[in-house]
Subunit: 179 residues, 2 copies
């Protein structure tokens, strides 16, 4: 038996990303879950950001950003950067995260995150409460500790986690499934 | 130490959805991972679909679809529906899945999936290899077996899984994390 709910954002599980962006005075970090790969070639991502957020104008001005994929070690930073404003806090400092120069964009990468995805904004479109930024991936950096000796990604080392908007919980990944 | 990779679709972890769509002769299912919630109000999703896929024209013609969130029980169906074409197979039949009438759209829901998200297409835009469909969520159905007696979502009962495009693996969810 199914229960019908009011329309809601029910796609699960969702990625959790720390978006880092360059600013005139200081760089900022915002945690987002309304993010996805949407095109393989060129590799393209979308990110939904509310115009009220401090990072919104920063991304518009910078024209680029980095999507940093956190491990469980950065879960408190993800919570902080998702609920506090860059107007009030230096989030790199408050979260003890290290800005590292990117290679293709001006926005900084977060050194501690195992995966950093450099992105250049292509367009911004309003979808209601959120604007949707479409951006092309121009470089990817991945920590050698989460790659095996053949350069293959080792999820158990990356210790990724996911967000479930249906109940607001973060969950770790479990085990590799064979389809 | 980080290793720089060529630009690639590196956002992880990703949702796995079975998109079901009505057709003139028969309905079809396509497995997608380039999918996300992108706006909270109105609840809005995006889905990247290659124009070569059989479901592409079907979604354009129908103007609606259902995003069905599978449990691990449907992982073989997800693999089949993601790699075989609706031109060659009746995927509902091949995967032993049950089409169930939706309430707000003409496309059918997949009865076996614990969560069904009815969506109406708003626009389609090319992003390269994939076109990005933006759609508004018009109804959500959730199996009572994955809700507690207060109607709250129980992830451990839903037995969700995720896709990691960095290495092509499916992973189960592990445990609830406290931020």
């Amino acid at each position: 038996m199914k229960k019908e709910l009011k329309p809601t954002t029910a796609v699960v599980p969702c990625p959790v990303v720390l978006l880092s962006v360059a600013g005139e005075e200081k760089s900022n970090i915002i945690t987002l879950s309304w993010v996805a790969n949407v095109c393989s070639k060129p590799p393209t991502v979308v990110a939904g950001i509310r115009p009220q957020r401090h990072s919104y104008e920063m991304v518009k001005n910078a024209g680029d950003f980095v999507l940093n994929i956190p491990s469980i070690d950065q879960i408190d930073a993800a919570e902080f950067a998702g609920t506090k404003s860059g107007r009030d806090f230096d989030k790199f400092k408050e979260c003890n995260l290290t800005p590292v120069p990117a290679t293709k964009v001006q926005s900084p990468m977060i050194g501690e995150c195992p995966i950093n995805i450099e992105c250049k904004v292509i367009k911004v479109e309003n979808a209601g409460a959120h604007d949707v930024f479409t951006a092309e991936v121009v470089a990817v950096h991945i920590d050698e500790s989460v790659l095996d000796d053949k350069g293959r990604f080792i999820p158990s080392e990356a210790r990724l986690f996911t967000y479930l908007p249906l109940n607001g919980e973060y969950w770790s990944l479990g085990e590799h499934l064979q389809a």
